[in-house]
């Protein structure tokens, strides 16, 4: 059983990160708040509880890897990486600005701690598979975590990866599906229904764990039970809410890729400070 004080600490961090996400997107007047708010609880738990890493040595060969395939929702990742000391929070002001290290989509060439140059959906899972294969060849014990979106699963390449990870028996690979129900122009189920999604992953040869992706206890226990020695890759299917924490952004596709205006910003910050 994870101690309650750890859970509370992670919850309080996630709350702080939600404000940083809104601030970054508001300052940039562009970016993707919805998918950042759905993913932030899980990313907070990954770095605050599970991953082995060293911000002073971002290339440490034995580190666990977090491949963030939904790179448009990078404010969530930036908030957490800065909090762990990969770079200064002063960089937030330069998010999406010329010369800044925080690119509009997370990019390993620009930002310490970012493993994957994202921005094109359906590519992170294959990249994670490559790292997992290398880990096995090099007899390393690191784990590879890869977060994908639910809308992203409409990309055929995700299923090429799903087949390959099972075929190659990558037990060191843990995918996390941020199932936030909404994509750019509407609800996932109306645009290209994925259900029954857990059955699909099972059928592709994966161990599945379905959780509430905003419940810190659920997240932490799923991360603890995700790695089993049964030769299968695992996927945590995290039921989340796009825009979680800001009432008017929740399940609202308009805030997939739009910054809040002055009024919306004040309202969002008011809700997050409550």
């Amino acid at each position: 059983m994870v101690k309650m004080d750890i859970i509370q600490k992670l919850e309080s961090k996630a709350k702080q990160h939600r404000k940083e996400i809104i601030q970054m997107v508001y300052d940039a007047q562009s970016g993707h708040p919805g998918g950042s708010l759905s993913a932030i609880d899980i990313i907070t738990a990954l770095y605050g509880y599970k991953l082995k890493f060293n911000p002073k040595k971002p290339d440490w060969p034995d580190r666990d890897r977090f491949v963030y395939s939904k790179g448009h929702a990078c404010p969530a990742l930036y908030a957490v990486l800065a909090d762990h000391g990969y770079f200064s929070k002063g960089e937030f002001k330069k998010f999406r600005k010329l010369g800044g290290m925080l690119q509009g989509h997370a990019d390993r060439k620009w930002t310490p701690g970012v493993e994957f140059s994202a921005g094109s959906l359906g590519q992170g899972l294959g990249f994670a598979i490559g790292i997992a294969l290398a880990g096995r060849l090099d007899k390393k014990n690191y784990k590879v975590y890869c977060m994908i979106g639910d809308g992203e699963c409409e990309e055929g390449a995700v299923w090429e990866g799903a087949m390959a990870a099972a075929q190659f028996k990558l037990k060191n690979l843990i995918a996390i599906m941020d199932s936030n129900k909404v994509q750019q122009t509407g609800k996932v189920k109306d645009i290209m229904n994925l259900e029954p999604i857990e059955a699909k992953w099972k059928a592709f040869g994966w161990r599945t764990i379905a959780i509430n992706g905003h419940n810190m206890k659920d997240i932490v226990s799923a991360l603890d039970s995700a790695v089993k020695d049964d030769g299968r890759p695992s996927i945590i299917i995290a039921n989340t809410i796009k825009g979680k924490g800001v009432s008017f952004m929740e399940l609202n596709e308009k805030f997939h890729g739009k910054a809040p205006n002055d009024e919306e910003y004040k309202k969002a910050m008011g809700e997050l400070n409550a």
């Binding site: 060439k109 994957f116 140059s117 921005g119 359906g122 990249f127 790292i131 390959a164």
Partner: protein
């Protein structure tokens, strides 16, 4: 001259460099055609057949490279383009150490028909920052290029062909990225050729010699970075330039040379290549004849360039 397909040079080259335990190879279930199978047999633990899934192959290659591996990934040239955007975003953009090889390129592919006859690979891969584009003329050069790439840092695309082509180089040949190889000296014109058209150009030079026309034949094995200084030097010397490639005349070797010339030394130039058309089934010889890729077409292009030469 003995004849060996350049894809066989890829196979033997991979086998040689495979002794380095840091090298891994991927294929999208065409390894007996691309010849990466030789590596797969010798080093099965470092060979991954990703299935018929070129997009995923690119991403997996990127992940392995990001973990310190030197990755050789192969498929047919045309199917590599299926994963083009994956290669662009996940390999080229972060400048990862992935060496892509597209086999069965050009009209040399023959009987398989137009779906497999990739005539745009130079064009698309050349337009990617960070990516070196290589097109060997024979099996020896291919093997040497593989050996070179094994120690080269950065992404690359190399094209090989299905059909056998005459062997031009011997074991002492040294591959130098971005350096054209003068195979025959001349004075009246210069032919910059790549891949199977190098041999056609040598044949053209022999015939032209009989008519008293003396031409340079240069093997351009690196389409990018193009050998600017050699192109300018020989254009200045001859003022009559011909490019020759088994590729669309749009965007390939001819375009790369024209880009250099128009800025530095405009000369009379003719392009021998596929005239912006898709192919069809037939033997490579028949296709080369019908679509204007033989030594005879090079001869005609040389004469035309000489005629148009600035005084």
């Amino acid at each position: 001259m003995p004849e060996i397909a350049t894809r066989d040079g890829y196979g033997t080259g991979l086998l040689k460099v495979g002794k380095n335990p840091n090298i891994v190879a991927l294929d999208a279930d065409l390894s007996d055609s691309t010849k990466s199978i030789e590596f797969g047999k010798a080093f099965p633990e470092r060979f991954f057949n990703v299935g018929i899934a070129e997009q995923n192959m690119m991403s997996i290659a990127a992940g392995l490279a990001a973990s310190g591996k030197t990755v050789f990934a192969s498929s047919f040239a045309i199917f590599s383009e299926r994963g083009f955007e994956h290669f662009r975003n996940t390999v080229a953009r972060p400048n990862l150490n992935v060496k892509l090889c597209g086999s069965h390129a050009g009209f040399k592919t023959g009987e398989d028909g137009s779906s497999a006859q990739c005539i745009e690979d130079f064009s698309v891969y050349r337009s990617l920052p960070n990516v070196a584009v290589i097109s060997p003329a024979d099996a020896v050069e291919t093997e040497k290029a593989v050996e070179f790439l094994a120690s080269y840092k950065g992404p690359s695309y190399m094209r090989t062909t299905r059909a056998k082509v005459p062997v031009i180089f011997d074991e002492n040949y040294k591959f130098e990225l971005g350096k054209g190889v003068v195979l025959k000296k001349g004075k009246d014109a210069v032919v910059f050729a790549t891949g199977p058209l190098v041999h056609e150009s040598l044949k053209a030079a022999e015939e032209l010699q009989k008519e008293g026309i003396n031409i340079y034949v240069v093997n351009i094995h690196t389409i990018k970075p193009i050998d600017e200084s050699l192109v300018i030097k020989l254009a200045k010397e001859t003022k009559a330039v011909v490019s020759a490639e088994d590729h669309n005349i749009i965007g390939g070797l001819g375009s790369a040379i024209a880009e250099v010339l128009c800025k530095n030394y405009p000369a009379a130039m003719e392009m021998v290549g596929v005239k912006d058309t898709f192919g069809e089934s037939g033997t490579p010889e028949e296709l080369y004849e019908k679509y204007g890729l033989t030594h005879k077409h090079i001869i005609k292009a040389v004469k035309s360039a000489i005629k148009r030469r600035p005084k």
